[in-house]
Amino acid sequence: MKLNVTIQPLFLISRFKTLPDPTKFLKLENVTYSWSGPSFFELKIADLNLARSETVLLLGESGSGKSTLLSLICGTIVAESGCVNVAGTDLSALSAGQRDRFRAEKIGLIFQQFNLLPFASVQDNILLPLKFAPERRNRLRDLKLEAKRLCHDLGLHDGAMSSKACNLSVGQQQRVAAARALIGSPPFIIADEPTSSLDAATQATFLELLFAQSRTHGTTLLMVSHDARLANQFDRVINMEDIAQTTRGAIV
C-alpha cells in the first residue's frame, strides 16, 4: 500500500497563518515610515516582494533607508501606512509582544556591528534567540551541540564556546553573530552588511554557509551590502534607489 504523505516544511508549522500565495514570502505594499526628531526622515516603499528560498542582495548608499527597511521587516518599528507581510503575517496587526515573538521564531538577524552581549559567553549569545522561540528550539535535539556544530562550520574552535564575546576578535564575533542567526533554522535571515569585517577567505566561507542554509532549509535570505561584487552570488539584486523614495530635512 502506498502512503500519500505530504511533508510540510518546519517553518510552516506555526500558529501564524500563511500567505495564500506561497511564493510571496515577504510583501511590502505602499509602506511609509518617518523618523521624527531634530532631523526628519521619511521612507516610502511602493512595492517589494521576496519569494520563499530566494536569496536577495540589497544595495544602497548610506542613508538610503536600508536599516529602516530592515527594522520594518523585523517588526521592531511599525509602518505608518501600508502593509508589511512576512511569512503570511501582517505585522501591523500584531501587538508589540506578538511581533517580538514572531521575530524570534521567524527571523535570524545578523547585524553590521554584530550586537553580541559582550558579558555573555559565545554559547549563551548563540542560544539567546531560542529562549524566546519555542518552535525554533523544538527543532533541535541538543541545543549546545547544535551551537557547537554551527561554530565549527563557521571556523570557530570548540574552546571558544565558553569565552566571553568581548574577548573575541572582530572576525570571531561576526561568526558568532551568524551562528546566532542560523541556529534553529529560521525561515528568514536578514543580514546587515555581515561581511564588512571579514577577510576574503572567511567572507567566502561565511556566504557559502548562508547559501547552504537557504538551500537545505528553504530559507529566504535578504542581505544588505555596499559591495556590488557579491551580486552574482545571489538570486536577485535590489537597489534601494529603485524601490524606495526618501525625504529628509530639518523640522522647522
Binding site: T76, A104, L117
Partner: protein
C-alpha cells in the same frame, strides 16, 4: 539563562552597581540604626523603673517629678517634709517607701541620699534588683556606693575617697567629711549607673555646720560627734512607694494629691513615662521622618543610576528585543536588577548595623547612658526591609518603561 545573563550584565557594571548597593546599604543601616536607638531609648526609659507604684514629691508636673527623681534630670522645685513622708509611710495602703534626697554632686555625677531599702526595692528591667559588683552596701555613715559608670569614668575602686560638692555646680565642697567608696554596683543601663549613693543620714551629717549654702564660720562638729547625732532630715526630694494592693494605688494617689498639710504630687511612673513620650514624640517623628527621607533618597539615587546606565545598556536592551525578548522580559530584567541591588544593599546594611552596634554599644552607653540591646531583627524591621525592596521594584518601573520605549524606538539601528 535570562537570570544568568542578568547577573552577568550586573557583573559587567560592577562599579556602578556596587555604588548603588553601598548607597542602599548605608541608608538601610542608618534607618535601622535610628530605629534601634529610638526603640532602645524608649525601652531604656521604660525599663528604668519597675515595681514602684507611686513616686511622691512636691507639687509640680508629673513629667518633671519623674525626670528629677528617677532620671536625675533637672531639679525639684520644692521638697517634701520629713513629717509628711512619715505620715504617708504610716498609711495602711503602703507596703514600702524609700526616701530620696538629691541636691549635691560629685564631679559630673549626682549624689543621692537614701536608705538601704533602696537596694532591695528599686527594680529595673521588669524585675531586676541592684547588685553589688565589688565591696558592700553602706555600713558606715560615710560609706558611698557608686554606679558602674561613675567607677569606670573616674576610675574609682573600693576604698577610694570621695568628696561631695554642695549643690550641682558649686565650688564649695564638703571636704571636711570625705566619703569612702564602699561598693560598686553592677551595670544596670539606668541612671543609677551615674549616681553616687550615700545614706540619708550622711546627707544630713555633711550639712550639720552649713547654713544658706555655705559652712558656718568657726563652727565644726567632729565626725564622732556626728555619728552620735540623730541626723533626721527636715525634708527629702522624693519618695518611691510600693502599695500592698494594686486596687489601693489610686486611693493613695488621691490622698497624697489632696494632702492637706502641704502641696504634694503622687504619680504613677508608667503614666508619667507615657506623658514624657508624648512630649518627645515630635522629635521621635522627626527622627523617623529624616531616616525615611534617607531611604527615599537612596532609592531615588538607585533610580538615577539605572537611568544613567540605560544609555550604556541601550545596545543590550535592543539586542534582547531583536532576539525576540518581549516587553515583559525587558521590564522584568530591570525590575529584577533593582530588587537584587536593593536586597543585597539591605542585607549589607543589616550587617553594617550589627557591626555598628557591636562597636558603638559601649560608647553610646558611656556617652548617653543608652544601652542598645543587640537582638535579632524584629518583625517590624524585617517588614521595613521587605518594604524597601518592594519600593525599589516600584521605583524601577519608571526607568524600565523608558528602557523598553528606547529599545522600541531604536529598532535595528543602535550603533553606539
Amino acid at each position: 539563562m535570562i537570570l544568568r545573563l542578568a547577573f552577568a550584565s550586573l557583573a559587567a557594571r560592577a562599579l556602578t552597581v556596587c555604588m548603588s548597593i553601598l548607597a542602599i546599604a548605608l541608608s538601610v543601616a542608618l534607618f535601622l540604626g535610628v530605629e534601634k536607638i529610638r526603640t532602645g531609648a524608649k525601652t531604656s526609659f521604660a525599663d528604668t523603673i519597675s515595681g514602684t507604684d507611686l513616686i511622691i514629691g512636691a507639687r509640680s508636673g508629673s513629667v518633671q517629678l519623674l525626670l528629677y527623681s528617677v532620671f536625675r534630670i533637672g531639679n525639684a522645685t520644692n521638697n517634701l517634709t520629713w513629717e509628711s513622708y512619715q505620715d504617708i509611710a504610716k498609711r495602711p495602703e503602703v507596703d514600702w517607701i524609700v526616701p530620696i534626697s538629691l541636691g549635691d554632686s560629685h564631679r559630673q555625677f549626682r549624689v543621692m541620699g537614701t536608705n538601704k531599702a533602696f537596694f532591695e526595692r528599686y527594680k529595673y528591667r521588669s524585675d531586676q534588683t541592684l547588685k553589688v559588683a565589688r565591696g558592700v552596701i553602706m555600713e558606715d555613715l560615710f560609706d558611698a556606693i557608686i554606679g558602674a559608670d561613675v567607677a569606670t569614668t573616674l576610675d574609682y575602686n573600693v576604698g577610694d575617697p570621695i568628696v561631695v560638692a554642695h549643690g550641682l555646680a558649686s565650688f564649695t565642697e564638703h571636704d571636711d567629711y570625705p566619703f569612702r567608696v564602699a561598693g560598686i554596683l553592677e551595670k544596670t543601663g539606668t541612671p543609677v549607673d551615674r549616681t553616687v549613693i550615700v545614706s540619708l543620714r550622711a546627707i544630713e551629717a555633711i550639712h550639720v555646720d552649713w547654713q544658706g549654702g555655705g559652712g558656718i564660720r568657726g563652727q565644726f562638729t567632729s565626725i564622732e560627734a556626728k555619728r552620735q547625732m540623730k541626723l533626721e532630715p527636715n525634708a527629702i526630694t522624693a519618695a518611691l512607694v510600693g502599695v500592698k494592693s494594686r486596687l489601693k494605688i489610686f486611693g493613695l494617689q488621691r490622698f497624697i494629691n489632696e494632702y492637706p498639710e502641704e502641696p504634694l504630687l503622687a504619680i504613677l511612673p508608667g503614666v508619667a513615662l507615657q506623658e514624657l513620650w508624648q512630649i518627645v514624640g515630635i522629635a521621635e517623628t522627626a527622627l523617623i521622618g529624616v531616616s525615611v527621607m534617607v531611604v527615599i533618597t537612596a532609592l531615588i539615587g538607585m533610580m538615577a543610576t539605572i537611568f544613567s546606565s540605560l544609555n550604556e545598556r541601550r545596545r543590550e536592551m535592543t539586542i534582547f528585543r531583536a532576539m525576540g525578548a518581549g516587553p515583559r522580559v525587558i521590564l522584568g530584567m530591570l525590575l529584577l536588577e533593582a530588587v537584587l541591588i536593593t536586597a543585597i544593599g539591605a542585607f549589607i546594611g543589616l550587617i553594617l548595623l550589627y557591626l555598628g552596634l557591636f562597636a558603638g554599644q559601649p560608647m553610646i552607653d558611656t556617652a548617653f547612658g543608652l544601652w542598645l540591646p543587640i537582638e535579632p531583627p524584629t518583625l517590624r524591621e524585617v517588614g521595613v526591609l521587605l518594604g524597601i525592596v518592594a519600593a525599589s521594584a516600584i521605583v524601577s518601573v519608571v526607568p524600565a518603561l523608558r528602557a523598553y520605549r528606547m529599545s522600541l524606538a531604536d529598532g535595528m539601528m543602535v550603533k553606539i
